[in-house]
Assembly symmetry: C3
Amino acid sequence: MTLHEIASILECAGIGSQIEISGMNTLRDACEGEISFLSDSKYEKDLATTQASAVILPKAKSSLLPSGVVAIESDEPYLMVAKLSQYFAKPIRSSDAAPVVGEGSVVYPTAHLENGSKIGVNCTIMSGVYIGAEVVIGDNVILYPNVTIYRDCSIGNNVMIHAGTVIGSDGFGYAHTKMGEHVKLYQNGNVIIEDDVEIGANTTVDCAVFGSTIIKRGSKIDNLIQIGHNCIVGEHSIMVAQSGLAGSTTLGRNVVMGGQSATAGHLSIAPFTTLAARSGVTKSITLKGVYSGFPLMEHKLWLKMQAKLAKILES
Amino acid sequence: MTLHEIASILECAGIGSQIEISGMNTLRDACEGEISFLSDSKYEKDLATTQASAVILPKAKSSLLPSGVVAIESDEPYLMVAKLSQYFAKPIRSSDAAPVVGEGSVVYPTAHLENGSKIGVNCTIMSGVYIGAEVVIGDNVILYPNVTIYRDCSIGNNVMIHAGTVIGSDGFGYAHTKMGEHVKLYQNGNVIIEDDVEIGANTTVDCAVFGSTIIKRGSKIDNLIQIGHNCIVGEHSIMVAQSGLAGSTTLGRNVVMGGQSATAGHLSIAPFTTLAARSGVTKSITLKGVYSGFPLMEHKLWLKMQAKLAKILES
Amino acid sequence: MTLHEIASILECAGIGSQIEISGMNTLRDACEGEISFLSDSKYEKDLATTQASAVILPKAKSSLLPSGVVAIESDEPYLMVAKLSQYFAKPIRSSDAAPVVGEGSVVYPTAHLENGSKIGVNCTIMSGVYIGAEVVIGDNVILYPNVTIYRDCSIGNNVMIHAGTVIGSDGFGYAHTKMGEHVKLYQNGNVIIEDDVEIGANTTVDCAVFGSTIIKRGSKIDNLIQIGHNCIVGEHSIMVAQSGLAGSTTLGRNVVMGGQSATAGHLSIAPFTTLAARSGVTKSITLKGVYSGFPLMEHKLWLKMQAKLAKILES
């Protein structure tokens, strides 16, 4: 699609450039031939060094772009990105290459492997499993029945994923019109699950909007857990049943999240932090420790708070 | 089934009527040939105008029925309704008509379409999807792998439902005997999903006991969400991951429910209301605003409360 | 595997015994030919009477074993058990006997029945269902689409399990190394679901580490619920959507758990207890009643607490 065509879709006049645009990306990760955007001022610093061929951004910021980068000016850049995203959405099927299955691997007859997928050796792909296009699966992996892996995801070695779990479903991202309608930001990225990870049943891990959601080596994820787009779960972390991570949150290594605990989005949790069951995290944690409650506090303060409240109750 | 046979099942003596009864319904929606019931005094006002042919109700209320409507008197009308409901439960399969699939639609080989289902044009019905009897699906719909749509549900145009989600499973409704046993009230209704709705992965939307659970146009529902029977989700509403609606609650348009938030049943939430993450709603909301906490309060009061509690903690 | 081989795997010198070990079990349930372990001092009382042929335990406890039982001494017995458990993990497939399906039962073509499974009469096993090896299913059972039943589980009569639910996935159990890595304790047990149980959609019930997770007669379990390994749900109990039980907790009969409520592990909840929506239980409940909040308290105290807090807010 040419920039001129993109400008037409976005109803931005005066852009005649016939540069061919092959994809969308963040300011930091965009390459030549890609279009990017500025919708949050905290990424303004990335404007000067972006390799994107064009950037959708507010008029007032155009001057910050390197010369040669085309500015597509808009008061609503995020909405423009969302509208454009469907044109770059990857199709469900995109390859003619038959799936490759390594030696010693068992694929049940009702599993569905899309073209372009690759499965390592000694894997077990059970009934009803779906493996999307361009998915790469390592060795000694067990996917229990009815697991779904969306396209482009990558699964390491010695990974076990229990029944009904969904890896790589679309992150929950929308731009909003002035009329209160929601325009889907098609999710472009994938999920990477590293070696020695185990994921329980009916858990959901969303793909990244751009780039990757990552579950690092040795992490153990229980049942019915939500991991939002662009999260990073550190090595050897543990998430107990029904806990959740909102988008773009990063757990350091060996973080423990108790049952039904959750974090807001865009947070960073220090390595070796323990979050008690039901705790709710709304700010980043820089100091490892044991935390409880909602709002979150150090666990020992939470216990003190409960004692104070008990006293109030008696009064 | 005749009224006489019904009376025998319910062990109510003295009803010889051979009127043929074809179904059960609420007092308000029942037609001639249907049986209804009064189990909650708030519906007493509907007795006088019901079109039902028979009504199960406490003896003291019989006189409120229009003449010609047969009263089946019981001290436990709800238990009677539950016992009767299995006789009117719809079978899983009920049609000889082969499924109809519109032009340009792709149905994966391991998807299962029951007879009597209809799929519009340009749909993608992926592997492991189940589409029940009499289900109607619009155009440009994507059902990702292992989605289940129970019988009689209706899906609009441009709807996307992610992997593992279940639409139309039985609502959670039981009558209780004096011995503490639970008798299933077979769920008779369906789910209607309007145009432009997106639903995430491993979410569950229960069918209505009578009538419809409705997800209105443009709503966006995230992963691992529970929507109970007979709920109505207003246009352009947003529900974030792991939130839940108990039965018969209605959200107005553009309601936003944060992650892990929930409402009790039989509530009404004003349009344009925002419920913060983790908030718990036990009363209807008539004034739009931002609300937090459990018990729920205006968000600014919740912040004030946290400040007061912090002071108590320091004291 | 001989004890000598086991000792080699665990790097314990000096055990030459060629006794053949056929499995692992708890001290109380182990038979001759099985190996057991002591990792929690509360089970020390079972040492004297264990029938196990060998026990992994701290050196200081060896003298408590009956004569003839081989002691495998370790400072980290739980880690040793986990390392050993994979050698005794049951394979996914273990039988040559074709599945047996009773008269009048319907099995959809995309359902997968492993060898060694047995299905009673008048069952409906819908599309995408997986039934593992040695699973036994009673009569009049409906398994809705994409239900997964792991190996060795047992389902009673008149059971209904809604779409996407997973029965018998691995409990969440790991031993931890000094380096912060998690070693899987392969789960050896099963799930037993008794007669007249209904389970909603996308719920997960984990198998026991040893022995059985049990859902007793007449219980009704809603959608998106987590039931951990070795839990026992008492007769006629009710669990509402998104609630959860951590491992080894026992509910008495007719317990009601509201939506999003949860318990910690290893608790016992008195029969006829009601836990309000969102309540969080961290201690056993010996007296039936209505409880709310987190920390949990009698519901009437919780109401009083909210009144006190409202007053503080106004002050």
